[in-house]
C-alpha cells in the first residue's frame, strides 16, 4: 500500500467515525468510497488491453441547511498493453472541491468549484497512451484523466414548479489555468491553456407512477484550446439525458439513457475532427429478495464516428457498439451501505488497420464495491 492509499484510508476512517450530533451539521457528512476495476480487451487487429483500478473517495459535508461542501479525489492506476508495448500511469487524481449554496425557498442554487491539481497533469512518453485511453467517451472509464491542472467553476441553477412538473435551468462557466501536459526529455516544455467552458442546462422532472421521469439537456460550448501556440477546438457538446424509475408489481424498474453529440472541430495538430455521437441505454430491475435489492441490468452503447481524413474530401462513418450485463445489490450493515456490482461487456469496435476500416471484437468486465457511510 503506498502513501496515497494510506492517506485516503485515514480520511475515510475519520469520516466514518464522526459522531451524530444533529441534522445539517458537519457531523451529518456522508462518505462514499468505491473501489472498482474495469478492463477492456480489444481483440485483433488492435490487440490492446486497457484496464483501470480506481478508488474514488467522495465526502459531502453540510454546513447548516443551506450550504453543502463536497470534496472528491481518487487513486487510479491505468494500464495499457499492446503486444509488447506497455503504458502505465498511477497515482492520486485531481481533487474537486465544490460548494452548493441554496437561496430563498430552495429554488435557487449557486454552485462553485475548484479543481485542485493534486493529480498528475504532466505525463511522460511512457504514460501518454494510458493517460489518454482512459479519456475515451465510448469506453467510459470511471476516472477519465489523472489531472488537468487548476480550474474554477461557477454557476447558478434555478428551479420552478409548473403544474406537476419541476423545471430546472442553469448556466456555468469553467476557467482552467495553464499547465504542461507532456514531459518529453530533450523537448521544449509545451504549455497548454484549455479554453473556457460555458455550460447551459435545462432539466425537468415529473412524478410517474411510483417513481419519476427526469429529462435533461446540457450544452457545453468550449473556447479554443492553446497548445504551445496551436489554437484548436475539438467541438462543442450536447448531452441529452433521461431516466424513468417506477415500481411495477413490487419490482423497481429503472430505464436510463443518454446521448452525447460532439460537433466537428479540429485536433491539436490541425487535422479535422469529425462529429461523433454516443448513445447509451440502460435497463435495471430492482428485485426485492433475500431482504435486500438485487438488480440485474443490461446496458447498450453505440458510437457513431464521422471520420475525416486530411486531404480527402469525403468523410466516412463508422460504428462501434457494446453491451454490458450487470448485477448489483445493496447490503446494509448499520450505518454502512455496500453496493457490490459486477458486469461483463461484449461488443465490436471500429478500428483503422492499414488504412482500411474494419472492426475488432471487444470484451471486458468490471467489479465494484461502492460504500456509503452516513452517520
Amino acid at each position: 500500500m503506498n502513501s496515497h492509499m494510506q492517506r485516503l484510508l485515514s480520511v475515510a476512517l475519520v469520516a466514518a467515525l464522526a459522531p451524530t450530533l444533529g441534522a445539517q451539521s458537519v457531523f451529518d457528512s456522508e462518505l462514499r468510497f468505491a473501489p472498482q476495476f474495469l478492463q477492456y480487451q480489444i481483440h485483433a487487429p488492435s490487440n490492446e488491453t486497457i484496464s483501470q483500478l480506481a478508488v474514488p473517495i467522495f465526502v459531502t459535508i453540510p454546513f447548516g441547511s443551506r450550504f453543502t461542501l463536497d470534496v472528491g479525489t481518487s487513486y487510479a492506476r491505468a494500464h495499457v498493453t499492446s503486444g509488447a508495448v506497455l503504458s502505465e500511469i498511477s497515482g492520486l487524481t485531481d481533487t474537486q472541491v465544490r460548494g452548493n449554496l441554496t437561496l430563498g425557498s430552495d429554488y435557487v442554487v449557486v454552485t462553485g468549484g475548484v479543481n485542485l491539481p493534486s493529480g498528475q497533469s504532466t505525463v511522460n512518453a511512457d504514460q501518454i497512451t494510458a493517460a489518454g485511453r482512459i479519456g475515451s467517451d465510448f469506453l467510459a472509464f470511471p476516472i477519465s484523466n489523472m489531472g488537468t491542472g487548476l480550474a474554477m467553476t461557477g454557476g447558478i441553477a434555478i428551479a420552478r414548479p409548473m403544474g406537476d412538473w419541476n423545471f430546472g435551468f442553469g448556466g456555468a462557466v469553467r476557467h482552467s489555468a495553464e499547465y504542461s501536459p507532456f514531459d518529453v526529455p530533450g523537448q521544449t516544455t509545451l504549455r497548454f491553456q484549455p479554453g473556457d467552458e460555458y455550460r447551459a442546462r435545462v432539466g425537468a422532472d415529473h412524478p410517474l407512477g411510483g417513481g419519476r421521469l427526469s429529462l435533461g439537456l446540457t450544452y457545453s460550448k468550449f473556447g479554443e484550446d492553446n497548445a504551445g501556440g496551436s489554437i484548436y477546438n475539438t467541438g462543442n457538446r450536447l448531452i441529452a439525458q433521461t431516466s424513468i424509475t417506477n415500481s411495477i408489481s413490487g419490482t423497481d424498474v429503472t430505464v436510463a439513457a443518454y446521448n452525447v453529440f460532439r460537433a466537428s472541430g479540429l485536433y491539436a495538430n490541425g487535422d479535422p475532427a469529425g462529429t461523433e455521437n454516443i448513445a447509451n441505454a440502460y435497463l435495471g430491475l430492482g428485485l426485492h429478495m433475500f431482504g435486500t435489492t438485487v438488480e440485474p441490468s443490461i446496458e447498450g452503447r453505440h458510437w457513431l464516428q464521422n471520420v475525416l481524413t486530411p486531404g480527402v474530401a469525403e468523410s466516412r462513418s463508422q460504428s462501434s457498439y457494446l453491451g454490458t450485463l450487470g448485477l448489483r445489490t445493496r447490503i446494509e450493515v448499520g450505518q454502512v451501505l455496500l453496493y457490490p456490482s459486477v458486469g461483463y461487456t461484449m461488443g465490436k469496435l471500429a478500428v483503422a488497420d492499414n488504412s482500411s476500416a474494419t472492426s475488432a471484437d471487444l470484451t471486458g468486465y468490471r467489479a465494484q464495491v461502492a460504500i456509503r457511510i452516513a452517520p
Binding site: 474537486q96 452548493n100 489518454g132 485511453r133 479519456g135 469506453l139 484523466n145 501536459p181 415500481s247 490541425g270
Partner: protein, 455 residues
C-alpha cells in the same frame, strides 16, 4: 490481497444480517423504523415512515408524535400531512384533521387524493357541527348560563299543518328563505341552518324525541342566540297558506307579537317577503335601501323548484345525502337560474363523496404514485422507496447545479441505481489533452503519435 479478503468477509456477514428482513410483519417494520429513528432522530423521511407505520398498527398517539416531528422538519411533505390528517381524524381531533387536509390540498402531489380530501373536508364540517352540538348539550349548565347576544338570531323550522303532505317540506324551505333574508341586514348575525338543526337533533336525542318551545329556547341558549324566530305554516283550503311567525327572546323566553300573512300557494315568495319585513320590525332593525333591494330579490319564481329544494333540505337534515343531491338537481333542472339550489347541490355532492372517503380509498388512490411508493416502502421498514428520491423543486435545482458543476470523482463513487435512482454509466467529461491529441481514441493503432503544429 488481504484488503480484498476483508471486504469479502464483510460482505458475507452483511448478507447474513440482511436476510433477517425477509417477510416483514407490520410490527417488525415498526421495530426497524424505530431503530432508524433512534439513529436519525431529525430525519423527516424516517419520522414520516415511522408515523405511517404506527398509524397502520393503530398506535395513533405515537403516530401523531412522529408525523408532527416530520412535519416540523419538512412542512411541505404531502404524505406526512395526509397521514397526520388521517391520524388526527382517527383520534377525533377534527379541527387538526381539517388543518392537515387543507395543507395537503395546497402541497400534496396526488391529484386524486386532493379531490378526495376536498370532499372529506365538507363531510368533516358536518361531523364537526354534530360534535359541537353534542359537546354543547353535554356542557349545557356552563354554556347556558353565559350571556347571549341579542343581535344573534336563529330561525327554527316552521311547523306545517295541512292536508297536503307534499307541502310539509316548506317547513325547512320557508325557514331557509327567512334565514337568507334576515342575514341581509348588517345588524344581525344569523345562526347557520345546519348548526341549528344539529343542536335540535342532539336535544331531541337526549329527550327521547320530545321537542317543544322549551327545547327551542334551550337550543337558542346553547347557540348563544339572543333571539329565535319560530312559526307555523297552515294550509287553508287547497290553494292558500297562512304563515304566523314570532320572535322569541331567549333569556326571558318571552314571545313577541306574532306577524301573520296569507296568500295563495303560488305567491309563497311574496308571503315570505311580507313575513321577513315584519320580522325586521319585530327585531328592531331598520333596513337600508340597498338591504331592502336585496331582500326583494327572489331566489326562484318556480314553486315546483322551491318544493324540490325544500325536499332537499329535509333529506340533508336526515343525512340522506344521495336523496338530497337528487332533489337539488331536480330544483336546478326546473329552474336553471336557482343559484341557491345549485350551491346546495354542489355542497351536498361534496359531503356525500366525503362520507365515502376512507383510509382504504385514499391509499387506493395513492397506488402507483410517488407518494404511494413512500407508503409502500413503510411495509418494508424503509423510510422511502429504494428508487424514488424525493421529487421536489429543491431537488430539481440541486440536480441542475450538479449537472452544471459535475464532480467526476463524485460520479465514480456513486453507487448506481439501487440507491440513487440513476442507472448505468454516466456521460464522460471532456479531457482536453487526450481529446485534442486523439489519444483517447481506442479505434486507431496502439501507438500514439502526438504532433502539434505550431501556427
Amino acid at each position: 490481497m488481504r484488503h480484498y479478503q476483508t471486504i469479502i468477509s464483510t460482505l458475507a456477514f452483511a448478507s447474513l444480517t440482511a436476510c433477517a428482513t425477509v417477510g416483514m410483519t407490520a410490527a417488525e417494520s415498526v421495530t426497524k423504523l424505530e431503530q432508524q429513528q433512534r439513529s436519525k432522530p431529525n430525519d423527516a423521511a424516517v419520522n414520516r415512515s415511522l408515523g405511517i407505520a404506527y398509524f397502520r398498527t393503530e398506535r395513533l398517539r405515537e403516530a401523531r408524535t412522529s408525523l408532527e416531528t416530520s412535519q416540523k422538519l419538512d412542512p411541505k411533505d404531502g404524505t406526512t400531512l395526509l397521514y397526520l390528517g388521517l391520524t388526527d381524524e382517527a383520534l377525533g381531533d377534527l379541527p387538526a384533521a381539517k388543518a392537515a387536509y387543507s395543507s395537503y390540498i395546497q402541497v400534496g402531489k396526488t391529484s386524486r387524493v386532493r379531490g378526495q380530501l376536498q370532499s372529506r373536508l365538507a363531510a368533516l364540517a358536518r361531523k364537526e357541527i354534530a360534535a359541537e352540538a353534542k359537546a354543547a348539550v353535554a356542557q349545557e349548565s356552563s354554556i347556558g348560563s353565559q350571556p347571549s347576544n341579542p343581535r344573534t338570531v336563529a330561525v327554527l323550522p316552521l311547523r306545517f299543518s295541512g292536508t297536503d303532505s307534499t307541502l310539509r317540506p316548506l317547513e325547512r324551505g320557508f325557514a331557509d328563505l327567512l334565514t337568507t333574508d334576515l342575514a341581509r341586514s348588517s345588524q344581525l348575525t344569523l345562526v347557520e341552518r345546519s348548526r341549528m338543526q344539529a343542536l335540535l337533533d342532539e336535544i331531541k336525542l337526549q329527550t327521547s324525541g320530545a321537542t317543544d318551545a322549551t327545547t327551542n329556547v334551550r337550543a337558542g341558549k346553547l347557540l348563544r342566540a339572543g333571539r329565535l324566530v319560530s312559526g307555523t305554516i297552515n294550509q287553508v283550503g287547497a290553494e292558500n297558506l297562512r304563515v304566523d311567525a314570532a320572535v322569541v327572546d331567549v333569556p326571558t323566553s318571552q314571545v313577541g307579537n306574532p306577524t301573520t300573512g296569507s296568500d295563495v300557494l303560488d305567491q309563497v315568495f311574496n308571503l315570505e317577503k311580507t313575513i321577513a319585513l315584519n320580522l325586521f320590525n319585530s327585531l328592531g332593525v331598520t333596513l337600508t335601501v340597498q338591504e331592502r333591494n336585496l331582500i326583494e330579490q327572489r331566489p326562484t319564481r318556480s314553486l315546483q323548484a322551491f318544493l324540490a329544494y325544500s325536499n332537499g333540505l329535509v333529506a340533508e337534515d336526515q343525512g340522506r345525502y344521495d336523496d338530497a343531491g337528487r332533489y337539488f338537481n331536480e330544483a336546478v333542472r326546473i329552474d336553471p337560474g336557482f343559484n341557491a339550489a345549485q350551491t346546495k347541490g354542489q355542497e351536498i355532492r361534496a359531503v356525500n363523496a366525503g362520507t365515502n372517503v376512507t383510509v382504504t380509498t385514499v391509499e387506493t388512490s395513492l397506488k402507483g404514485t410517488s407518494e404511494g411508493a413512500v407508503v409502500n416502502a413503510v411495509a418494508r421498514g424503509e423510510p422511502a422507496a429504494a428508487n424514488t428520491p424525493p421529487v421536489n423543486v429543491a431537488a430539481a435545482a440541486q440536480a441542475t447545479a450538479e449537472s452544471l458543476n459535475p464532480s467526476p470523482t463524485g460520479t465514480a463513487a456513486a453507487s448506481g441505481s439501487t440507491s440513487s435512482g440513476g442507472g448505468g454509466s454516466a456521460p464522460g467529461t471532456k479531457d482536453p489533452v487526450s481529446s485534442g491529441t486523439g489519444s483517447d481514441n481506442p479505434t486507431g493503432t496502439a501507438k500514439v503519435t502526438i504532433v502539434i503544429r505550431r501556427p
